[in-house]
Amino acid sequence: MTARLRLWGGFAVAAVLLFVVAPGALSDFRLNLLAKFLCLAMVAVGIGLAWGRGGMLTLGQGVFFGLGGYLMAMHLKLADAGPGGVPDFMLLYGDGTVPGWWEPFRDPVVTVVAILVVPTGLAALLGLAVFKRRVRGAYFAILSQALAAAFAILLIGQQKVTGGTNGLNGFKSFFGFTLADPLNKRMLYFIAAGVLLAMVAATRLLMRSRYGELLVAVRDQENRVRFLGYDPAGVKVVAYATAACFAAIGGALFTPIVGIISPADVGVVASIAFLVGVAIGGRATLLGPVLGAVAVSWAETSLSEQFPSFWTYFQGALFIGVVAFLPNGLATLGQVWRRRRAGPGIREDESGQPDDGTPRSAPEASLPADAPADALPGRTA
């Protein structure tokens, strides 16, 4: 039906844009910038799942982004290391020896596996710990924020092994390909684009599965789900860990593309900044977070060139305007418009769900996107 056509048409258009148009039209510099935005969009896809669909406002995605980025960076630093195998910054700031826990990351396979497993596993453990104890809503948001703060402080404090505020940088090669070669930078862009598309597709499958329905149910009525015999903690952990995994992959690609990962990319402010694009694009939609993240990053880069202080106002105003007055993001504008055009009444496609995977908020925007009473702190029985 038309809705399906539109979705997969959109997917195809996105693929053509990413794989044909952008590489053809953009200079090496701009393409690399776009690659960076795509990495940020990967984090956004995960946040869309955890926050938009699962109601978990995670203010600490920087932690997982950073874990992925630092794990990759550790491998790149070890691979670049000269004779003796000690990364340059350890010679400068440390005692010139490589700590034992760095050693496994000399191996590229171990590194890739660790990037996929470590942040995801950490998220699953943390998630189990807090969700089992029914820490949620505002409590969860604040805890995740404190986690980001603690992680950044830890990174900064352990300069000898993490590079401190400088972070890790100055990579020369990526799995054997020299990063100074623009052709290899293009290759990185294609990898980022491919990974992002795969993530979007996987998220789409997850959203439309029974699990996706259950996740929305948990978001809106956690206790009700519990009385149906499900353990909501398990449901939430899956979404949270998936989001962490996406963020880690985004971070791991961000590192070679941008050439640096530092505590400034993982802390409290960076973690909240991830949310702007998601909120603007439409937190509960599939493509909203992606488009929002890319658009906001692009706007930041171009607007801040002309008006540095204006950008801060603009960012603040975006937060206020979109979240307060358009809680479902700009993506819903299109939906509202389409529905108006289609005439009154409730439009349905064959599965009874709106075409683009948004939750059906039939009385537009009168249904808040995150749980009303459920999320109120103090009412968590």
């Binding site: 300069q159 294609f190 202080s309």
Partner: protein, 431 residues
């Protein structure tokens, strides 16, 4: 829209949607495989990188583009805005005096937003998109470290105007602020001269203080000074009661302070409130300049010491002219400080190098750089062609009741830069 129809399976179109781009990626990746490191001679890290693209700098017109890259937003904007102001002043002066090699300077200004990644991104933009001949800016070590690989890969030039922790020398960077042997070591020399034997180290938890303190510890060991405490506070930390308690109980007779920014305010207020005073337990600070004194409160830091290479009060014709020009442009209430002066100087040094090389070409400038000197507000400075730092005179100053810093002690002559401390025996094990 039959409600009875079961949803058709997703798998097929999805597979197609996934497979097509995946295949495309693979094909493109394989076709586009760039250079592998194995094909390259081992890069030595200081030379221009092998994949560097040819410069796109346009020298044909009657103007030449240069880039200013400072944080105008975020936490570092406080400091970096002042550097931008003095860079603008220098550019105006140079243009008014006929430009460089007869070309007017066309400044492309960018905001580093206090984030290393933004610095790296904007540096690349300035070099690749705007095709500037040189970039001036950066403040934090992390911003410099983030930009360094970009300048090396693109083989372009950065002029970095802030004192820093040393242990670095890139062919693509000119360091116009002090390295450690022009600021930290003279300050320790001064303390030793004053007969101080027990020094307490307090710093923010990041690269500069940790590296500086490593050097101070080595210096102390070789010079019979006890380090009676070494404390770090997270950046932006504002509760110093524990650290000051430790300081008070340590029996120190001097404090070496490498705290950064806001933390200084909290530290000095606490220091004063527990009854410590400059005449009995002086604090030598290396990150407090004229700009910061007002924010800390003059009565909190009056009589304390600082180590720099320039103060607004320096008595020289060049400085008189600089301070007057700056106040005329930005207002009488503004002060000038060391990083501002170093930034101002950096633009003139670049002008000198270009004119000596008679070219804007990076290699030509690198060749010509050694020995270029400038009658700077701080005194005569000369570029060291080997390590791209400049020879500077070290000044220990005392903060006066007027909020300005007055020279208390100075090195006899400009100190040759020695970023790796190769000329100091006690520093042998440091790097």
């Amino acid at each position: 829209m039959g409600p009875q129809r079961k949803a058709p399976p997703l798998t097929r179109p999805l597979l197609r949607a996934l497979v097509v781009p995946a295949a495309a990626t693979l094909a493109l990746t394989l076709a586009a495989c760039g250079a592998r490191t194995a094909d390259e001679p081992e890069a030595d890290g200081t030379g221009s990188a092998t994949g560097a693209s040819a410069s796109c700098v346009d020298t044909s017109g009657d103007s030449i583009k240069i880039g200013f890259l400072n944080s105008l937003s975020g936490t570092m904007a406080i400091s970096e805005q002042t550097v931008r102001d003095s860079l603008d002043l220098a550019a105006d002066e140079i243009n008014a005096a006929g430009g460089v090699l007869g070309k007017q300077l066309d400044v492309v200004a960018e905001d580093g937003a206090s984030e290393p990644t933004v610095f790296a991104e904007k540096a690349e933009k300035l070099i690749s998109s705007d095709c500037v001949a040189a970039v001036f800016g950066g403040w934090t070590s992390s911003s410099r470290k983030a930009m360094l690989p970009v300048f090396e890969a693109k083989n372009s030039l950065l002029f970095y105007p802030v004192q820093y922790e040393g242990l670095e020398a890139s062919k693509n960077i000119f360091y116009t602020g002090a390295t450690t042997n022009q600021q930290i070591i003279p300050a320790m020399d001064y303390l030793k001269e004053q007969g101080k034997t027990k020094v307490f180290l307090v710093g923010s938890d990041y690269v500069f203080p940790r590296t500086a303190n490593k050097e101070i510890v080595a210096y102390a060991k070789a010079n019979g000074i006890d380090i009676v405490g070494e404390e770090y506070a997270p950046l932006g930390y504002t509760d110093f009661s524990t650290i000051v308690t430790k300081l008070k109980g340590s029996g120190a007779d001097a404090v070496f302070n490498t705290l950064n920014g806001d933390s200084n305010v909290a530290f000095f207020k606490e220091y004063k409130n527990v009854g410590l005073a400059a005449d009995t337990l002086p604090v030598v600070s290396v990150s407090i300049a004229e700009e910061e004194v007002g924010g800390i409160g003059v009565d909190n830091v009056e009589g304390q010491l600082t180590a720099w290479n320039y103060y607004q009060t320096v008595d020289s014709p060049a400085n008189e002219k600089f301070v007057a020009a700056f106040k005329a442009k930005y207002g009488d209430d503004r002060v000038t400080s060391d990083p501002m002066e170093a930034a101002y100087t950096s633009l003139y040094l670049w002008k000198g190098m270009v004119e000596k090389a008679k070219s804007f070409d990076v290699a030509a400038i690198q060749d010509a750089a050694g020995g270029v000197s400038f009658e700077a507000p701080e005194g005569t400075v000369t570029v060291n062609g080997e390590n791209h730092h400049i020879a500077k005179t070290a000044l220990i100053g005392k903060i006066g009741p007027d909020g300005l810093i007055h020279t208390e002690w100075s090195s006899k002559e400009p100190i040759e830069p020695d970023p790796f401390l190769e000329g100091y025996d006690w520093a042998a094990g440091l790097s």
